[in-house]
Subunit: 294 residues, 2 copies
DNA sequence: AACGCTCATAAGCTTCCCTTATCAGAGTTC
DNA sequence: GAACTCTGATAAGGGAAGCTTATGAGCGTT
């Protein structure tokens, strides 16, 4: 059985005869006869009584009409479902992001994208280090990725679009060591107690680099959950080096944020597979790059 | 788009890869690749991200899964619908019948058939004269026909099966001219007022034949609606010649029924198209002939 | 670094579908 | 009632589409 055969069958029913149906379907009449014969052979039942002049539906033929229409409709539905995704009337876009960048610039990006394509939902897939993001994009776990790196961009593995830079800032308790200051030099971090993130993150790479420069500090805590950084700072465990994506959040939480001099920053990149992207991903990329260049 | 392509697509989704799906569908892997490529070309959207090793569903692919399953199911449903008719689990059988024969023997036949195939409904299509029945069967308006004839069976046009004979009886009012009698000779009908049916019916042919024999009577009324015969008799308009299919009905209605001598009868035949019949019609024929020969 | 597994591509063959041409039956018309 | 017309079936040939085997390319694994 075949959709083509069912369409032919319905055409015969609807147009009331093989010849008229053949004209309507722009095929020859023998093609119709053969298709119906094939269908009847396949189903094991005659669909029409052939009575010289006219073809009359059999009971089996009558029983087939409605299911056949349903089958034809179901193909149209399938096509429409795919079209809806392509035309961004619905669907879903997975974006892998490291935690800090999930705060900014991802929030802004999603907001802009959501305004243009309200039917498409964006899912933030959790990645924790740059490598996670690259791998998720490479393997297709997410179609786009947002990462931060202090080193070179992974241009060889994925397509990279620089969307901004985030400078490092120091978060301290409001009544902590840097109260009243707007900036500190990195050398001033010596002998302080630091709360740091997981290896592989941009902020950790920066901190490790400071230590290699000979700035001696203590690592008071290391957390894989960035959300715990600020509470740790506020409870007096130590100070933390984070990117200024956290500035607003930290200040609202009651922490004191100061710039670290000389300015040092992470590159923030939106990455994607090298081959053809889905329409949603393309548009998201366009939205995001448009915003950053504007 | 094609059901085959959707089945292949679903196989890939369900088996998690082209190779496994190809094995499961007993086709070669390139056949699958080509089918999916054709589907993607047709839909205008990629369904899988090809990432060297693994094929990952795109958003469009995800959107296609459910509609594709529905489409595949719809074909199975269509097949099942036809099967149900063939296996006589449901369906409908049209039987054309003249009015008298619709009382008997059709009622008995339908009862026997209904007991064996409760899912199949039998529709009685109204015919009024023998020719109507033959035409309806010939043109497919009904698949079977039940007719009565005093002449030869229409063997040339349809397949005929003699299922019985109905003798002619006279229906008179309870207080009418034949009260107390069990039979009358046909000559006694002379000078009586008769209520007759439409030309072309068996009872009318018999009455016309009596007149040709020189038996002189008056035609008090002619009706195309046989149901009005008995009321006319009961109201004293005249007497009526009908077949003994009506005996029970007439007596229950309060009329007096007497045999007409010498016995004269109509042949009752079940007729059908000459070519292959539907399973329901075949079974009905089998039931009916089985009953009459038993 | 070599191997193995993934899916894509290429080329040949088979199959199936559609075409034109013709036939056969039944209704219609003169 | 004979010719005509309209119905759908049948026959034969050409072309497209699908499946096959063989091979290639990319990526992960040993």
């Amino acid at each position: 059985m075949d959709i083509r055969q069912l369409e032919y069958f319905l055409a015969i029913v609807d147009h009331g005869g093989f010849n008229r149906a053949a004209s309507a379907m722009y095929i020859s009449q023998p093609a119709l006869s053969q298709a119906v014969q094939g269908l009847e052979r396949d189903l094991g039942s005659a669909l029409f009584h052939r009575m010289g002049r006219r073809a009359v539906l059999t009971e089996a033929g009558t029983a087939l009409i409605e299911p056949a229409r349903a089958a034809v409709r179901s193909l149209q539905t399938a096509r429409a479902s795919v079209d809806a995704v392509r035309e961004l009337r619905c669907g879903r876009l997975d974006v892998a992001s490291m935690p800090s960048q999930a705060v900014e610039p991802l929030t802004t990006m999603i907001s802009a994208f959501g305004a243009r394509f309200p039917g498409v939902s964006v899912a933030i897939k959790a990645a924790f280090i740059t490598r996670d993001v690259v791998d998720m994009v490479r393997t297709g776990a997410a179609e786009l990725g947002l990462l931060a790196t202090s080193g070179p961009l992974p241009e060889r593995e994925v397509a990279c679009h620089l969307v901004g830079r985030q400078r490092f800032v120091l978060v301290a308790a409001a009544d902590g060591p840097f109260t009243g200051r707007r900036s500190v030099s990195r050398e001033e971090l010596a002998r302080h107690r630091l709360i740091v993130g997981q290896r592989g993150t941009g902020m950790r790479a920066y901190v490790d680099e400071l230590r290699e420069r000979g700035i001696a500090f203590t690592i008071a805590a290391e957390t894989e959950h960035r959300v715990s950084l600020i509470p740790l700072v506020l409870s007096g465990v130590g100070v933390a080096v984070v990117t200024d994506a956290w500035r607003t959040v930290a200040e609202h939480a009651g922490a004191h944020v100061v710039d670290i001099e000389p300015e040092s920053a992470l590159d923030i990149a939106l990455v994607s597979r090298r081959d053809e992207l889905s329409p949603a991903a393309k548009e998201f990329l366009a939205c995001a790059l448009d915003d950053t260049t504007r």
